[in-house]
């Protein structure tokens, strides 16, 4: 199969985007696939926590690659342990973390970086690590690297909550993705409170954005309890949230 790039984006922070990314990556890997997860949220990195990856182990990060200090594959860490002992033979998952060093974060904010180098990095990761899927956890909002991620992705998943600011911001992101001709765009409604009329809202979302709703995830007490203590689907394999995420993962091109 041709390697695929999947970007997970949200217009605002706090939508559960990193959680969705980590879970989709794990559920995809569990299908016996090789998966990479890039944390391009260089301003506030965090997805490594979900994989139980100790930041003390970060020798070289995405930042080092962006400054030309190393090759991109040197920034990839095998976190396949998260897949548990019964993982299929080929299943593997690599994490490409951003630096947690405040000096490095400040430098990115101050100087920016060559976004085209990020693009090369994504493609090098796909070939050199023989990945089937590369998941990109983007920074919330719209900036150069999120636009690049959207542009080069085969699939863009926009995570949103049922609130007016998210509805408005998502409209902008969908329009930009359409102009960049991203082949597959889908919405994932997260943190939905129980009495929602999901089907009515789903119809409204489809009418408004003209893109499919990949899934609806309720605000789950179990998810809140796990906090960022792990990848949810591994802790609750039979949970309705996991079942929905599995369907979303299976629907990726």
């Amino acid at each position: 199969m041709t390697a695929k790039i999947v970007s997970i984006h949200s217009f605002r922070g706090g939508t559960g985007k990193s959680n969705v990314t980590a879970n989709l990556a794990v559920l995809t890997a569990l299908r016996g696939l090789r998966v990479g997860v890039v944390d391009t949220d260089v301003q506030s990195p965090g997805i490594h926590v979900l994989f139980g990856f100790d930041e003390a182990h970060i020798k070289t990060s995405l930042n080092d690659y962006l400054w030309g200090r190393c090759n991109v594959e040197e920034t990839a860490y095998d976190v396949s342990e998260v897949l548990g002992p019964d993982r299929p033979e080929r299943a593997q998952i690599f994490l490409i973390p951003s630096s947690l060093n405040t000096g490095e974060i400040a430098r990115i904010l101050r100087e920016g970086y060559d976004v085209s180098r990020l693009n090369d990095g994504f493609h090098d990761l796909l070939t050199r690590l023989e990945l089937d899927y590369l998941f990109i956890d983007t920074h919330p909002g719209v900036n150069e690297e999120t636009l690049l991620s959207i542009a080069i992705s085969d699939t863009l998943i926009i995570v949103l909550r049922a609130d007016h600011q998210d509805f408005q911001g998502t409209a902008v992101t969908v329009d930009l993705a359409r102009r960049l001709e991203t082949p597959q765009v889908a919405l994932l409604l997260n943190k939905v409170l129980p009495p929602f009329d999901v089907s009515a809202l789903g119809r409204q979302l489809l009418d408004t954005y003209q893109v499919p709703l990949a899934g609806v995830l309720p605000l789950s007490e179990d998810m809140v309890r796990l906090a960022s203590g792990g990848v949810f689907c591994m802790h609750h394999p039979e949970h309705p949230v996991t079942r929905t995420l599995k369907e979303v993962a299976a629907g990726l091109r």
């Binding site: 636009l147 049922a162 408005q168 409209a171 902008v172 102009r179």
Partner: protein, 265 residues
């Protein structure tokens, strides 16, 4: 010690014994009646069901034949939320689904603009005080019972004793009134006055009821807001924001490069 002293001592001891018994009885009511009702209230999230539990349990507690629970939604009126009368077999409001045909009672006198102290229920609502009336037809208490009397003349009922307790929330704001009618002697089945000793127990129950009703109302409001949420987009803002990004050199360059890349693959 004189005979008089002994008699006085005995009287004091007897009074002390009565007080201890009263405290014990009150404690037992709280432990065996009010707390289990509180638990039942916690387990119900349906508003109509909650109203019914509050009223019926309070009626059981006081052996009352009837009762009404009023709510003051707008701080201007007390509306009849649920009404029950066992001997008449009347069940209106609550889970019965039957509407209550009585008009809401104004909390403020329309003519004078002063708090309405005429009805016992509105008096309890505006003053936050419990009122225990032995006989509604005895005018010495100074309340007007025209509604009650009209109900009685239509139904052949005889409303007599009334215990009216405000339902105040945590901040002391009255959100409703619980009114129990015709306390009945469990043995003789005669209508009697509400025992003053039962008042603090019903007041404790009312505090729990007010808290449960408030939580339920808040949840219902939240649910309604969520259900009625619509996807509304400011299209002008959307177009402006998209244009600001899409017109940038970076975006157009990206668009071109991606198109070439896709054409190649």
């Amino acid at each position: 010690m004189t005979t008089g002293d002994t008699a006085e001592l005995q009287r004091l001891l007897e009074e002390q014994r009565r007080r201890i018994e009263e405290v014990e009885r009150r404690f037992e009511s709280l432990a065996k009646v009010v707390i289990p009702i509180g638990v039942a209230l916690l387990n119900s999230s349906n508003f109509q069901e909650l109203l019914e539990i509050i009223l019926l349990r309070a009626m059981d507690l006081c052996h009352a034949d009837g009762g009404t629970l009023y709510l003051c939604d707008d701080q201007k009126h007390l509306r009849f939320a649920i009404l029950r009368n066992r001997s008449l077999g009347v069940a209106l409001g609550g889970t019965s689904g039957a509407a209550i045909p009585f008009d809401p009672l104004p909390l403020v006198d329309a003519k004078t603009g002063t708090p309405n102290h005429r009805n016992v229920a509105t008096y309890a609502a505006v003053t936050g005080r419990t009122v225990n009336i032995r006989d509604a037809y005895d005018t010495s208490a100074g309340f007007e019972f025209s509604g009650t009397k009209a109900f009685d003349s239509q139904s052949g009922y005889r409303s007599m004793s009334f215990l009216t307790v405000p339902l105040a929330n945590n901040g002391g704001r009255v959100i409703g009134v619980l009114q129990l009618i015709n306390a009945t002697d469990p043995e003789s089945r005669n209508v009697v006055a509400f025992e003053p000793g039962v008042e603090p127990v019903v007041e404790s129950l009312s505090t729990l009821a007010a808290a449960a009703l408030e939580v339920c109302l808040r949840e219902e409001g939240l649910r309604r807001e969520i259900r009625e949420l619509h996807v509304r987009i400011d299209q002008g803002k959307r177009e402006r924001e998209v244009a600001a990004i899409a017109d940038s050199d970076y975006f157009q360059d990206l668009q071109r490069k991606v198109r070439q890349m896709r054409e190649r693959s």
